[in-house]
Symmetry: C2
Subunit: 362 residues, 2 copies
């Protein structure tokens, strides 16, 4: 295709064009070695350099303190829903969860297999439209940790603050907003993220964990699910997802070459503002229910005045090369995911189309 294609899928999501072009260019022959990265031993000197650079570039981008380990794992955020309690209960019976939507709910349901779950706060009584302010939270003193979903990918609800919990470790599912803006990692005990939104291909899961939280998994924990083992062995207790890590490393270099997370934040804020303004200025043709301060910069769910027009909207959008706008099946409507790889021109093309569609069908 010659016309630009903009892919608003929530994940697996759009990757930076420059990254995909580099992957394609060196797919058969990485830097003159005559083999693909897919064909390299994970313990070869070349591959050890690829993974070490990926980690260092991520550390540079996020200013990850030295007392945090970076792990390249598998299984997605969903496996983290189990690994977090398995590793972080540390003898406690209870863990606390903040309920802000479908993903935080999934996390706490899985935790119930291993722990007594305390709901520290919930937005369920307010149609999941906001993040409950910390003044509402009730966290027991004997809790092991507090878990949040920093950005709810389905509901489009994003934290506008980092909770202050004293000595209780804060754990965040950052799958859909990691690397979208600077964040103070030292305020968290553990951050995890599936790669397939803002990092790279599906099949890679990133974990950033403070060292003192390692080494507390019970002895009947599967070895692969013990952060301490993965940390000690540099994410190579067995063969890691080598190609996905390589692509993620290229994304990290692309971010550095494009001004890092501060530049991303400014661009992402502009993109989000453009789209929310188009929704709010549509006279009710489009709507987004989230409170202004918690509107996600990354995932923008929106609804047409009449659901009967959804099919026409998607069909006409696709004809203009605006792809994967269908909302999550649990919510219906539309969702535009506008991760780092989405250029401002893509959001502009979307709002132009939305205006045209509203004019035609309004």
């Amino acid at each position: 295709m010659n016309e630009p294609v903009y892919n608003f899928g929530a994940g697996p999501a759009m990757l930076p064009a420059a990254v995909l072009e580099q992957v394609q260019g060196e797919l058969l022959d990485w830097q003159g070695r005559g083999i693909s990265v897919m064909e390299m031993s994970h313990r070869s000197a070349d591959y050890m350099q690829i993974i070490a650079e990926a980690e260092q570039d991520l550390r540079d981008l996020m200013h990850i303190p030295a007392n945090y380990k970076v792990l390249f794992l598998q299984g997605g955020a969903t496996l983290q829903f189990a690994m977090v309690p398995l590793n972080l209960l540390r003898g406690h019976a209870r863990a606390s969860y903040v309920q802000t939507g479908i993903w935080s709910e999934k996390a706490l349901q899985e935790a119930r297999r291993f722990a007594e779950v305390e709901i520290a706060a919930s937005n369920a009584d307010r149609q999941a439209r906001l993040v409950p302010p910390q003044s509402e939270w009730r966290v027991s003193q004997d809790t092991a940790y507090v878990h949040i979903a920093g950005n709810e990918t389905i509901g489009g609800v994003e934290f506008d603050f980092i909770p202050d919990l004293g000595d209780v470790p804060l754990v965040s599912d950052a799958s859909s907003h990691i690397l979208s803006r600077p964040v103070d990692v030292s305020r968290f005990g553990l951050i995890y993220a599936g790669a397939q939104k803002n990092i790279g291909p599906a099949g890679l899961t990133l974990v950033i964990v403070r060292e003192d939280l390692l080494g507390h998994a019970p002895t009947n924990t599967p070895t692969m699910l013990d952060y301490a083992v993965q940390a000690k062995e540099g994410s190579m207790h067995n063969t890691p997802p080598t190609f996905a890590i390589y692509v993620a490393g290229l994304v990290f270099k692309w971010l550095k070459n494009n001004g890092g997370l501060q530049a991303m934040a400014e661009r992402n804020q502009r993109k989000a503002a453009l789209l929310y303004q188009a929704i709010d200025a549509s006279g009710g043709f489009y709507s987004n229910p989230v409170e202004a301060r918690n509107r996600s910069w990354m995932n923008v769910p929106f609804f047409l005045k009449e659901a009967g027009m959804n099919g026409a909207f998607l069909q006409e959008a696709e004809a203009r090369h605006l792809l994967q706008l269908k909302g999550h099946r649990l919510l219906g409507g539309m969702r535009a995911s506008i991760y780092n790889a989405m250029p401002e021109a893509g959001v502009q093309a979307l709002v132009d189309f939305m205006r045209d569609f509203a004019r035609q069908h309004g």
Copy 2:
């Protein structure tokens, strides 16, 4: 590089050139959709077709009976070392393991976290040179299953028979020989394999499991580790490793286009015979200690008469574009992995080099 490069790495390993070329060709734009497979929603119609075709092609190749599920998972064989006992104990206290080398040993050590492990047979008293014949095996009546490593990737020891265990399910780690020859799947309860040898890129794990063995995991099993959940949701309880599955699917099509597993078996047997003959005819310059009937068709460890020549051997091999011949660190020496993707010309190039090297240094 213009001269052919032959990559003898044990895994991640060589992939068929035709597959890599197709991946490269459609990396930016899969079949005119304007996006990469890496950027597709796993629930899109296009991707659902990719994964369905991959499964069907695998079923065709291996003649997988209808009462077996095919699962595309993550975590490698090492996570299966835990998932097998978690799912297959079915209320039993005990599971039986046949010890034939380093990988079967790793599997049984992990199983000890969850079960009482019975060593049904072992070759440890015979320098791991063979598979103990079934007449030696002692399997308790109340055991949950018997686990074997069908091919020991490090030791190069391969089963020359399928054990007959009556009603006791047979479980095989087939990571390094799956798809190398036809196999009667109905003789197994469960077969698993990391992808990065004979299937596709690292980060994908294949499980073939008989349906009646599903649904017995204890309630405190992490959801992602429950085969029944993965089977029910078509390997999409969460986002699967979409790109790795796509590449595996292309490998399956390549196998079908090249005569299927019978043709692979004939070719693999010729390749292995050529290499073992070169070793045996070297007058002791090269040696392989495995009993003839259990010599692996896929992984051929061999040793130079003098270990002091290892460095020169590897250096000169690399100069002739024969890569990753260094043996596993636990065994030393050399290892040539000659999976399906290794053409006969590659093995010929290796034995030519071995003959030249022996002449020069013998």
